[in-house]
């Protein structure tokens, strides 16, 4: 996996994870291209596209969010759909019925969870429960009962 993006239908970026070093300008270009490719797609289309030399996999999440990732030739597209599905499950377990606002107001948590699940573009942990356990334990290490600990009131 080269990158993982999460953006809304309105073109607002919610998460961006880059697994290879690229410039800021290049990142912006990729984000723009991905939005252009993915947002106009018909509802029941194939989730796979070809872009430059990458396989692009996208998955619509709820009505308004899109996951979008770029794969190398060797990566298994069908399995990547499972990877995206698993990530959503992890978020859901952590936040309890996750929705877009959770991702917006707790973006740093979304990143922490992602970093317990993937690293360097590869799956780090395949157990559904292990990621949740790690997150809980790490959260308890947080020194203050600050906003980072509590469920947000927005």
């Amino acid at each position: 996996m080269r990158f993982l993006l999460l953006f809304s239908r309105q073109g607002k970026l919610r998460l961006q994870k880059w697994f290879t070093p690229i410039t800021d300008r290049e990142k912006k270009k990729v984000i723009r291209d991905m939005m252009t490719l993915v947002l106009p797609r018909q509802p029941r289309s194939c989730n796979f596209l070809q872009w430059r030399d990458l396989k692009v996999i996208y998955k619509r999440w709820y009505a308004s969010l899109y996951f979008c990732t770029g794969l190398d030739d060797q990566d298994n597209e069908l399995l990547t759909l499972e990877v995206l599905h698993r990530y959503v499950e992890l978020l859901d377990k952590y936040f309890g019925n996750v929705c877009e606002l959770d991702i917006i107001f707790n973006f740093e948590k979304a990143y922490f969870i992602l970093d317990e699940f993937l690293m360097g573009g590869e799956v780090l942990e395949t157990s559904k429960t292990a990621v949740g356990v790690s997150m809980e334990e790490a959260d308890t290490l947080q020194e203050t009962m600050e906003e980072y600990m509590s469920k947000p009131a927005y």
Binding site: K12, L13, R14, L15, Q16, F19, P21, I22, T23, R44, S45, C46, N47, F48, L49, Q50, Q74, N76, E77, L78, L79, L81, E82, V83, R86, I104, F105, F107, E108, Y111, F112, D115, M119, G120, E122, V123, L124, E125, T126, S127, K128, T129, A130, S134, E137, A138, L141, Q142, E143, T144, E146, E147, Y148, P152, A153, Y154
Partner: protein
């Protein structure tokens, strides 16, 4: 100074902004506050500020002034600080900034921290964005952690090692000892990341690959356990246990089994087992099957297994799930070269995918369809592909049209089919075809002699419908210009001939000239076509008018053509029929595209794309000849003579070709009226310095004297034409032994009806006195019935001011010249 606002507070505030400008204002205000807070070196709220900065960065605003702050957070003792600090580093820093090197020491310390979650943060950051220098510095630490018994750390260390190896491949050796026991782990996280690490190492180094082949049995065992094991809630996905690990193991097996018989054999059973037993109702099962198929195709599997794999792909093609169909088409495209027959069996399903609504699937199906076309299925496949061409999106049309042309060229079952197919493409996707298809098509049409009438009729009808598609219009105008006589005479055999008059045809062509839809190139084609019709139609005056109008066209190309054609009407009208004659069959040279086209009879001609100067052909012209009048007899056939003078304009180049008939196929040199040597020489010396004939069997046929009277002697020398042995090539050598030059010398000849004769232009029309030189001229005689050669010649010249004329019969031809 009041405490900086909380992160959530800021997010809420920014979201209330109604316009971009309002948002920008809020952001700028907050950034200013944050900057001053940073300047004050405030430890308490640094974390909060950096978090806010990261949020604003995600919205697209610059946040580089926070980079150093991230480093300070990383160096802090607080876990909260470290967490945000490392996140900031991963989002804001990359290896291009020098700043990031300052992290190295912090990371090193944190890798040895007492808390595993701190160590985890460090490993994660290093594994995501560590530069080569950092990796070199810290590889040792990573290696240490790879050997720990703490599975949380071990799995992170394994993926971190993958990153290190990707950045600094030389360090790969270092991790080798640590890999020893990796696969004996029970923890799935560690197993998975270990397989990833092993895969990375095997992909990069053939030595490592050889070394790790011994792991195949162990991998097979692990995979088997996964499949056979009972339900494990932790790793279950829709009834399948840890699909992520299964797929990674299959991928590693693929690499290990490639080009290795023993390994391939060892994994044969498990692959068959996975292929047959995996549940296919959900995506996850299909993901595993997909990987299994890829592995089976890549290793040295036995044929039964390969067939099984292709059949799985065939089943995928019928799956309702679009993603699975797409993946199947992609895989089949990869295997179509190696397992062509097996893939052929699924041809009808693949062709059905052309009708799929999904764009990605259509593209793959099109590519695969073209790969499957062969001599047996060409008719059926082409029907489907043409239907696809009709209905597909514009983005596909160019590629599809090219594919159709290529396939048609390779496998066309008949000429008519080929022409029909190309017509179909031109009429449905004419604006999308590549430029070189026009000359290719013209060449194809020219060579299908029996289809000329049919082709021109179809093209004419197509023009009546639509003149917007330029390639079609160009080909059609060329054909009408060439075969217009067949069109009006209603000679078509293949289909019902249409009734069309000369005026109607000219209307159409003139319509092209004036239409806004016509490109300049197209206009050129149609003007030339009109001109050519002047020898095929009777309405010459109309054509003359059109041509003269365009003599003052603004378009320089059209103007030049019109002026030259005008000249043809006025000064060189006698040459017009010969110039505008039917094009002969062209032989295409081996390479594709516009290359030199060589005539079968040996004359070279300019490329077809340049229709301005059609070359002369060997067929006799249908014009009356003054010799007929002369000789009176009706056993004298029509012959062809050419004028000895050379006009300076368009016809000039043509006469070059005529004057120097190069029968061996070499390029025609410019015919300087060179003064030849006095003795009757072989052709090799006669015409020019360039050797014209390959065949030195000229010596086989002895020369002869045909005429010798009043000081004028005419000798004949012989050659066999190459490649056509029925053609005798005679060169006359006229010499003058009188004291004065013979000027205005003209040699004419006639042969009996069963022969055909062609007379080329003489080297000169002055025969110098006192045998100081000879005039040479080439005669070609076609003698298909191998009858005895006879000839009547007529000579006219002026000697000392008075004209002389003589007739003679030549009967003393050596037998070899006509046998």
């Amino acid at each position: 100074m009041p405490a900086p606002i909380r992160l959530r507070e800021l997010i809420r505030t920014i979201r209330t902004a109604r316009t971009q400008a309002e948002e920008r204002e809020m952001i700028q205000k907050e950034c200013a506050a944050i900057r001053s807070s940073f300047r004050e070196e405030d430890n308490t709220y640094r974390c909060r500020n950096v978090a806010k900065l990261l949020y604003m960065h995600m919205l697209g605003y610059p946040a580089h002034f926070g980079q150093l702050e991230c480093l300070k957070l990383i160096a802090s003792q607080k876990f909260t600080d470290k967490r945000i600090g490392y996140l900031g580093a991963m989002l804001l820093l990359d290896e291009r900034q020098d700043v990031h090197l300052l992290m190295t020491n912090c990371i090193k310390n944190d890798l040895n921290h007492s808390t595993q979650y701190v160590q985890g943060l460090a490993l994660c950051t290093l594994g995501c964005m560590g530069s080569s220098e950092m990796c070199r510095d810290l590889a040792g630490e990573v290696e240490k952690l790879l050997k720990t018994s703490n599975s949380y750390l071990r799995k992170k260390a394994a993926l971190c090692a993958v990153h290190v190896i990707r950045k600094v491949p030389e360090l790969m050796e270092m991790f080798l000892p640590a890999t020893k026991n990796l696969l004996s782990e029970k923890n799935h996280g560690v197993l998975h990341t270990s397989v990833v690490l092993l895969t990375e190492m095997c992909e990069r180094s053939p030595d490592m690959l050889a070394h790790f082949r011994k792991l195949v049995p162990q991998l097979v065992r692990i995979l088997k356990n996964l499949i056979m094991s009972g339900y494990s809630p932790e790793h279950d996905v829709s009834g399948i246990s840890d699909p992520f690990l299964q797929v990674r193991i299959l991928r590693l097996l693929r690499i290990l089994g490639k080009s290795d018989d023993d390994s391939s054999e060892a994994m044969n059973d498990i692959l068959a087992q996975v292929a047959t037993n995996t549940e296919t109702s959900k995506n996850v099962g299909n993901a595993i099957l997909y990987e299994t198929v890829l592995t089976i195709m890549d290793i040295k599997s036995e044929s039964g297994l390969r067939v099984l794999a292709i059949n799985i792909l065939g089943r995928f093609l019928l799956n309702n799930d679009k993603n699975i169909r797409y993946v199947a088409l992609t895989s089949l495209l990869k295997t179509v070269q190696t397992d062509h027959n097996a893939v052929q069996r699924h041809r009808s399903t693949i062709v059905d995918c052309l009708k799929d609504l999904d764009v990605s699937i259509k593209r793959r199906a099109m590519e695969l369809s073209f790969a499957l076309v062969n001599g047996n299925n060409i008719r059926g496949m082409m029907k489907e592909l043409l239907y696809f061409l009709d209905s597909c999106d514009p983005e596909f049309k160019a590629d599809c049209a090219s594919g159709v042309f290529l396939a048609a060229e390779k496998y066309a079952p008949s000429k008519r089919w080929h022409i029909d197919t190309i017509m179909r493409v031109l009429t449905t996707a004419g604006s999308y075809v590549r430029d070189d298809s026009v000359p290719n098509l013209i060449q194809l049409i020219t060579n299908s002699v029996e289809m000329h009438a049919y082709t021109v009729q179809r093209l004419y009808k197509a023009l009546l419908d639509d003149i917007s598609q330029q390639p079609l219009v160009q080909v059609a105008s060329w054909c009408i210009g060439e075969y217009g006589d067949l069109l009006v005479s209603g000679q078509c055999e293949e289909e019902e001939p249409i009734q069309v008059t000369e005026d109607e045809v000219l209307d159409v062509l003139e319509g092209l000239l004036v239409s806004n839809l016509s490109a300049p190139v197209t206009r050129g084609y149609s003007l030339t076509a009109i001109m050519k019709l002047s020898t095929r139609f009777s309405s010459v005056n109309r054509i003359k008018k059109v041509v003269s109008i365009y003599g003052s066209s603004i378009d320089v190309e059209l103007q030049q053509r019109a002026v030259e054609y005008n000249a043809l009407f006025k000064k060189y009208d006698h040459m017009r029929p010969a110039l505008l004659e039917r094009m002969p069959i062209m032989e295409k040279s081996a390479t594709n595209g516009p290359t030199e086209i060589v005539q079968t009879n040996g004359e070279t001609e300019p490329s077809v794309v340049e229709p301005k100067h059609p070359p002369l052909v060997t067929q006799p012209a249908n014009q009356a000849n003054d010799l007929l009048d002369l000789l009176g007899g009706n056993d004298v056939p029509v012959i062809q003579t050419t004028m000895p003078t050379k006009p300076a304009s368009a016809g000039g180049e043509l006469l070059d070709l005529l004057g120097d008939l190069s029968l061996s196929g070499g390029p025609a040199p410019a015919p300087a009226p060179s003064v030849p040597t006095s003795q009757p020489s072989f052709l090799l010396d006669g015409l020019s310095s360039q050797p014209l004939f390959n065949d030195i069997a000229a010596a086989a046929i002895p020369p002869m004297t045909a005429y010798n009277k009043n000081g004028l002697k005419i000798d004949f020398t012989f050659e066999r034409a190459n490649p056509n042995p029925n053609i005798a090539v005679i060169t006359i050598h006229a010499s003058n032994s009188t004291e004065a030059d013979m000027t205005d010398f003209v040699f004419q000849a006639a042969v009996p009806k069963t022969f055909q004769l062609q007379l080329l232009s003489p080297s000169s029309n002055v025969v110098p006195a006192l045998n100081q030189g000879t005039v040479t001229q080439v005669i070609r005689v076609l003698n298909p019935q191998k009858q005895q050669l006879r000839m009547r010649i007529k000579l006219t010249y002026t000697l000392k001011g008075s004209p002389v004329q003589d007739l003679a019969e030549v009967n003393n031809f050596p037998p070899q010249s006509w046998q």
